[in-house]
């Protein structure tokens, strides 16, 4: 359960990072220019995923520990992502795809 929250949080962070022009340029070198609305939806998706991750943590661990875990987990994920974007920027979209795959697998197992 909390594993899914970590994955969702990481995926949300990827969305938020890729919504920024600088990171998109480095992560996807020959990207097509995104429309304003597409950037907004990417950002929205990122925030939503983070919220869902926090909600899962809170249901699993209670309000007190859930909040501590959400903030701490987001910190770790964001730090990792910042380093990834600096050292291996092109891996970012693939990582996002991998994460979607994992989430689907977890979801399938849970059902």
């Amino acid at each position: 359960m909390t594993g899914a929250a970590w994955l969702l949080g990481a995926l949300g962070s990827c969305c938020l990072a890729l919504a920024k022009k600088r990171h998109r340029n480095e992560a996807v070198p020959n990207y097509k220019k995104l429309a304003e609305s597409q950037i907004y939806s990417l950002q929205l998706a990122g925030w939503l995923l983070l919220m869902v991750a926090a909600a899962i943590m809170i249901t699993a661990k209670g309000v007190a520990l859930g909040l501590v875990y959400s903030l701490g987990g987001f910190m770790c994920v964001a730090m990792g992502l910042a380093l990834l974007l600096s050292f291996r920027p092109r891996w970012t979209p693939w990582l996002a795809v991998l994460m979607i795959f994992w989430i689907l697998v977890l979801w399938g197992v849970a059902r």
Binding site: A17, H23, G62, A64, M75, A82, L83, L85
Partner: protein, 528 residues
């Protein structure tokens, strides 16, 4: 713009003035989250954790031993090894003891209940206390200094958020290839990402020491008379619902009965300790503590009357009736993180190290920027040289000193009088040498080479720790890995990881140094 300028000035000087102290507090405070693990490593006489322990079988052995060594005690604790805590330990309190607190302790071998003689060590507790009591100076002064540092830190956090113009835009940004920006980017990342942690730890730290710095508040109501204040302090922090002894002796039921009762009422609970208060009294109380499964408390306690075995309702859990006290306790629990399981403990630890990194990168950025400007203008200043030297001595010197502290634990003779004190002296001697080193070497070599030298030295010291452990004790890495004792193995492995990191940084810096030297030589040749 003027406002932002003022904030930048405040941020810079708040950080610079107490930067070294803040760095010390972040590093040793982070180590403090693993104080039990560190102490365990520093006492290799304690047997390896080979299997899951049967705490139920240990209890009668503990009771037997306590009857031998503590016939007059009025309070006893039996602590079982569980989770991160590897000790099977007895505590007892003698009311008529000559020792300062009246508390005594003994470590038992969890396999057979025999007492274990452990070496005297200052342990992880020393590193933890170093972050707010400091050393060699009176406690009151230390509280003031660390409170002051926390206050400056709070100022630095708030001004930092104000002057960071693109806090959301640059959220994930680390432009590593650009020399100057890379330091600022890293400083921002280390400041912004763990911002909730930084705010929490700084603010709660201030609150924890409020009886030093915010003394005027209670003093305004109760006067400055120390005795009165002492009474207020005791009244606020006295244990809630404490039952005092009746004075009539009575025999209690065996502890195992209470242990089983607690186990029956919650079979999944991990029982961490059994305590008896008012031992051998009519009003004796048995408390069974089990690891808390949720919330910010480390333990959940169940209390029984020891004489008839009935459940004691009112002291069952500890709820302060006063909102401000409750707030204080939440702050304390968040700061100390005793409730954290191993994953969260690592997150706490990493957040703390990120705080140290934030202070360090900020100081380096300041020095680099100044150096750049000075080189352009062709001037040199003593102040800048001082900060540059101190940066090396503090940022790399402190980790080296901590490594020396661990090495001293293995190298000092186990019969040395006040051995724990000597371990601490070793830490400060090495740190002093590391602080002097940049200023002595600066005459002959460049600042970059000094950084490389210190990083290499730190890497060697950390690499020596697991080796020295293997040479002087039987609890070395191969052994601890074989038996799956992850507290011990984790310590050694982490030391190896730190050594590798320092070595890597030294390599990167030395390559960069060689490059810049050859560039300068080329430029000189071209000029000729």
């Amino acid at each position: 713009m003027k406002f932002r300028h003022a904030m930048t000035w405040l941020h810079t000087w708040a950080g610079l003035v107490l930067g070294a102290l803040l760095y010390l507090m972040f590093v040793t405070g982070s180590a403090g989250y693993f104080d039990v693990e560190i102490t365990r490593w520093m006492q290799p006489e304690i047997p390896l954790e080979k299997t899951d322990f049967d705490t139920r079988a240990m209890l009668p052995k503990a009771e037997q031993r306590l009857a031998q060594v503590a016939p007059d005690a009025d309070k006893i604790y039996v602590e079982f090894p569980q989770g991160r805590y590897p000790y099977f330990m007895l505590w007892w309190h003698n009311p008529e003891s000559v020792a300062e607190s009246g508390w005594h302790q003994e470590v038992l071998n969890p396999n057979n209940g025999e007492p274990v003689t452990v070496r005297e060590t200052a342990g992880g507790e020393f590193l933890y206390r170093l972050h707010y009591v400091l050393h060699y100076i009176p406690k009151g002064l230390a509280y003031w200094l660390t409170s002051l540092a926390a206050m400056f830190m709070l100022v630095a956090i708030i001004t930092g958020v104000v002057i960071h113009r693109r806090i959301f835009k640059d959220f994930f940004t680390f432009r590593r290839t650009r020399r100057q920006t890379s330091w600022l980017d890293m400083h921002n990342l280390l400041g912004v990402l763990p911002l909730p942690f930084h705010l929490m730890i700084t603010y709660s730290g201030l609150i924890l020491l409020m009886f030093s710095t915010m003394l005027p508040i209670p003093a305004s109501s109760f006067g400055l008379n120390p005795e009165n204040l002492r009474q207020v302090y005791d009244a606020v922090f006295s244990e809630h619902g404490h039952v005092s002894a009746s004075g009539a002796t009575a025999s209690s039921r065996p502890l195992l009965e209470f242990y089983d009762a607690a186990r029956d009422s919650n079979p999944s609970a991990v029982i961490a300790y059994v305590a008896v208060d008012n031992l051998r009294d009519q009003k004796a109380i048995v408390e069974i503590g089990s690891l808390a499964s949720s919330g910010l408390d480390a333990f959940e306690e169940t209390a029984y009357w020891a004489v008839d075995g009935s459940l004691l309702s009112e002291t069952g859990d500890h709820h302060p009736e006063n909102t401000s006290l409750e707030f204080y306790e939440v702050m304390e629990k968040l700061h100390e993180g005793l409730f954290a399981d191993s994953l969260l403990r690592w997150i706490y630890f990493l957040s703390g190290l990120m705080g140290a990194g934030m202070v360090a990168t900020g100081a380096i950025f300041w020095a680099n920027k100044r150096r750049h400007a000075h080189d352009k203008a062709g001037v040199d200043s003593r102040g800048l040289r001082l900060v540059e030297g101190l940066n090396v001595g503090v940022i790399v010197g402190l980790p080296s000193a901590i490594a020396a502290y661990f090495l001293a634990n293995r190298l000092l003779s186990s019969t040395l009088v006040s051995r724990g004190e000597w371990e601490a002296h070793c830490l400060f001697v090495v740190w002093f040498v590391a602080l002097i080193h940049p200023f002595v070497r600066r005459r002959n070599i460049s600042l970059g080479t000094i950084w490389v030298e210190q990083f290499r030295c730190a890497a060697v010291l950390y690499a020596l720790i697991p080796l020295m452990n293997a040479a002087t004790s039987s609890s070395h890495l191969l052994m601890s890995l074989r038996y799956g004792d992850w507290v011990l193995a984790g310590f050694d492995l982490f030391m190896v990881a730190v050594a590798l990191c320092f070595f890597y940084v030294a390599q990167v810096l030395s390559r960069r140094e060689i490059k810049s030297v050859t560039k300068n030589c080329d430029a000189a040749e071209v000029a000729q």
